[in-house]
Symmetry: C2
């Protein structure tokens, strides 16, 4: 995966909804232990696009999760390449994932409230609608 950390395109709004990498990593780790570089590849499954995130972000989130006791890590020799820091989810991390899911469900409700307000408003002021 060469050049993976280049090319993060800025076609989104600056003050945007952040990407929710942390719960995605937790969910991936719920499926079994893994390490940063592999997790970065598996993040594509969530539809972030080609470049889900900078690798530094992934590594930092993993360390932060470990500091809070949600994952634990050990060094492991791989079949090839340099050693890997392999993370596994702790029971606390499992609970944290459930919290995240409830949190995201709430976010989903707020988001759809916004869409509802938007459509409602645009039906009335249908000047300057979305004539893309």
């Amino acid at each position: 995966m060469p050049g993976r950390r280049r090319g993060a395109v800025h076609n989104r709004c600056g003050r945007r909804i952040n990407r929710f990498l942390e719960p995605c990593l937790l969910l991936l780790l719920h499926g079994g232990e893994s390490y940063g570089y592999q997790l970065l590849e598996n993040l594509e499954r969530f539809g972030f696009g080609e470049d889900p995130a900078d690798s530094s972000t992934i590594y930092r989130i993993l360390r932060s999760l470990e500091n809070r006791g949600f994952v634990s890590s050990r060094w492991a020799e791989g079949d090839s390449g340099p050693a890997r820091r392999v993370y596994s989810l702790s029971p606390a991390g499992d609970g944290y994932l459930q919290t995240w899911v409830r949190d995201l469900e709430e976010t989903d409700r707020i988001l759809h409230r916004f869409f509802s307000e938007y459509r409602n408003h645009m039906e009335l002021h249908h000047s300057s609608g979305r004539e893309t």
Copy 2:
């Protein structure tokens, strides 16, 4: 609205999806000019809960929008109380709102991809599901 800027509860995840105040403010301003203090009250409509945001955040977002040409402001004497800085949406701001909506629709897709992955995964590993 006394004491309005106190009491921001931290029952959500730390590394959470940020609240999308900027597009909400833009949508409110699409309905007509307004000022910070009033916009803060009207934000409740979006279902953020009792305390949508700290007032300082609102004022700073508005100034940032103005710096980028998405809104313009003027001072206006109100019927009562101190003078208000009244903002109105610019054509560029209208376009920026449309960009935001497309951005949020993309976020919505990613969010639902996450929910789908989550449910899928939990059906298989239905140990440690959500026995709340």
